[in-house]
């Protein structure tokens, strides 16, 4: 049961990053590359039509996490208090940036919300990456110091950073150079993903340029990935044991690599959708490989005194998890239906469409 819910939530979160990822990426691209008003309008529209139905995946993942792993939810949300509030602010600015932009015709009004959308997309991508970095690095559970825990073994509290910015100290903060590397990987990945989305959904004048942007970003992504793997060996020497013990898990890093390789051929691809598929592979591979490396832990402990949080010691009881299974099946079927209806009615290029709006 725990495993089932773990996988379900991982899938929902991954879907969130694939779907909302493209409008984060669109925000980043928009910030750096969109120059004329027509492109800006069409890019915000390509994100604005869907951000809300994409964001529900995050809300749903949050709700399921709360239901299935309440101890984990409680520990992580209170332990990462400040970064989460920052994330909330960014989510709010991004959403209102997208929604409010079109309400007035003044250039300045639009510029303000364009920047709000772009900057918060960028920072959110960074913070989501940092969050993933924290999860795979682990935290000082129990606030362990001088042989004593300050809190119950499954609670912790992290400052935003500590003076050395090093992941190797006893109590690393939220932001250190390891988590920043992961943050940058997230930014670059989502920028590529967003660029692919813009190419797929619009006829904007920068589409050809975006292909070379993707190519360059992909080089950076490969470099960052290698760097992160090296650093990770220092931060967490056991990071590869899972892959040695269960060789089939290698599939996940392979998916990631396949995506990376595919993206190098971006200029030669026959169909625009292939590019989007490759960046999707990178996202899927990246998240699943990270999770697989720490499994069954979902938040490793950096001290020896307190046990890591795992899917087993944080889960709700079986009865609750199994009733939830039965309603979740109904829910998932409904969601797939809505999703197909929506995508069917709104397929094609955004700027060619007349929505009667």
């Amino acid at each position: 049961m725990e495993l089932f819910w773990y996988i379900t939530i991982a899938i929902v979160l991954t879907v969130f990053f694939i779907l909302d990822g493209y409008d984060f990426g669109a925000g980043i691209i928009h910030l750096f590359f969109a120059k004329d008003e027509k492109d800006k309008a069409v890019i915000t529209k390509s994100a604005g039509l869907f951000w809300d139905s994409n964001e529900v995946w995050l809300v749903a993942a949050g709700g399921m996490l709360f239901m299935a792993f309440p101890t984990f939810y409680a520990s992580v949300f209170s332990g990462f208090y400040l970064p989460l509030i920052i994330v909330l602010w960014l989510i709010i600015f991004r959403a209102i940036g997208l929604e409010f932009r079109g309400h007035f015709k003044y250039q300045m009004w639009k510029d303000i919300w364009d920047k709000a959308f772009g900057v918060s997309s960028l920072l959110l991508a960074l913070f989501f990456g940092i969050a993933l970095g924290n999860i795979i690095r682990g935290v000082n559970l129990g606030g362990f110091e001088n042989g004593e825990s300050a809190y119950e073994a499954h609670y912790f509290f992290l400052p935003l950073w500590d003076g050395s910015f090093s992941p190797l100290t006893q109590h690393p903060g939220v932001i250190d150079w390891f988590t920043i590397i992961i943050g940058l990987i997230a930014v670059v990945t989502l920028a590529i993903h967003g660029a692919n989305w813009i190419i797929l959904k619009t006829n904007s004048s920068i589409n050809t340029k975006l292909k070379s942007v993707i190519f360059k970003l992909n080089i950076a992504l490969v470099a960052l990935t290698i760097l992160s793997l090296v650093v990770w060996q220092y931060v967490n020497p056991t990071s590869l044991t899972n892959f040695e013990e269960r060789p089939y898990l290698i599939l996940f890093p392979m998916v990631y690599t396949a995506g990376l390789i595919g993206l190098f051929f971006i200029k030669k691809l026959k169909k625009e959708v292939y590019g989007f598929i490759f960046s999707t592979l990178v996202i899927v591979g990246g998240i699943t490989s990270s999770l697989a490396s720490i499994f069954p832990a979902i938040l490793p402990s950096t001290n020896a005194a307190n046990e890591s949080l795992t899917i087993y010691n944080t889960a709700a009881e079986d009865y609750g998890l199994s009733v939830a299974l039965s309603w979740a099946i109904v829910g998932v079927i409904l969601i797939i239906v809505y999703f197909l209806v929506q995508k069917k009615l709104m397929s094609g290029k955004i700027d060619d469409m007349d929505y009667g709006h």
Binding site: M64, F100, F156, E317, D354, G356
Partner: protein, 443 residues
Amino acid sequence: MEDMILYDRLQFAFTITFHYIFPQLTMGLSLLIVFFKWKFLRTTVEKYNKAAKFFMKIFAINFTMGVVTGIPMEFQFGTNWAKFSELTGGIIGQTLAMEGMFSFFLESSFLALFIFGEKLMGQKLHFLTAFLVFLGSWASGWFILATNAWMQHPVGYEILENGKYVLNNFSAIFGNPWLIPSFLHNQMASVVTSSFVVAAIGAFYILRNKQVEYGKLFLKTGVVFGLIASLLVAFPTGDWNAKNVAKYQPAAFAAMEGIFETEEAGAEIVLVGQPNMVEKKLDNKIAVPNILSFLTYQEWDKQIPGMDQFEAEELPDNIPALYYSYHIMVGLGTIFIGIMALALFMMWRKKLFTFKPLLWSIMFLLPFPYIANITGWYTAELGRQPYLVYGLLKTSEGVSPTVSSGNTLFTLMGFIALYMLLGILFLVLVGKTVNEGPNTQKH
């Protein structure tokens, strides 16, 4: 620790109060949009379609605000109430996760289709999308009220040795005797808000002599829906809720009604009076004997326990706020019925559109349903104190053990600043939409 709890509570109260401004309108308004769209299908008069689309614009702005202020609510269970989440997550997580799955997905998917898809799908399907948005938003209310009902009157649970609450009866959560009355009352109250908003916009157009055709339509619709909903809010649903409080939360009931001392021969109903917490009595009280006993139990001389019957730690910790909230809600409810009944009478005499004082009153009544809704929630939440889960888990036992009070104060101030900005933007955008009116050429 003390100020820790205070800041956590203030932050929750502030953010939920702000959040609830938006869903109370969207839930009610979605019903009225369905009504306009249905009228259009029946009559094919373009006016009704434009009305539906106009209110969907207002709905969309409110919806965005509801979403962006709702996400902080879900986060706060974990960030500020970690201990509560850890202990009860296996139960309230169920309803919250179901809300995400069954209502938010429905609402957001079909809202996009309603707004952007009219030309793509024809009128019947377009009506269907409006209906599904309505269904989604009411389902949302249903699940969140199920969550709240469990906290007010916990059922279907078992407490383990380590203090965790585990679910042992799923259907009990939805068969909770607290849930149905509170859901119906709450939904009717949100229809009150939306009808008053629709009527107020109508009155505004008539008074400004602009888009008068729509003004009349909105006013009439708002008055009819407003009167029906106001009546239903008071009776049977409000009455039913009061009976539940008397039955399951007697200490809260005594405080709400301002009964300091138990009266042997039946309790009086207090119309006016200020709680004096030092002398434990009501100052300048106006009350009618025995009515409360009759209203609650249909027996004139039934005894109702006053606050003197309870230990101090069982009583809500802010009795005056609770008492005032309750009386403001009930008082406003009575006024709403009065005004809307008068408006309907004028409509029947065909004088509604020319009787200026009434039009002005309806326009300026706009904020009051919001106040009634919010004070209603304050009644429920303050009455539940000092417990987070009634009778079982104290509020002080639910806070996050690791977050310091300085952090919470800091983020609380941040939320206040951010929400002020959001509030201003919201008013500007709604103001602009109302000013443009339903009859714009462009769209």
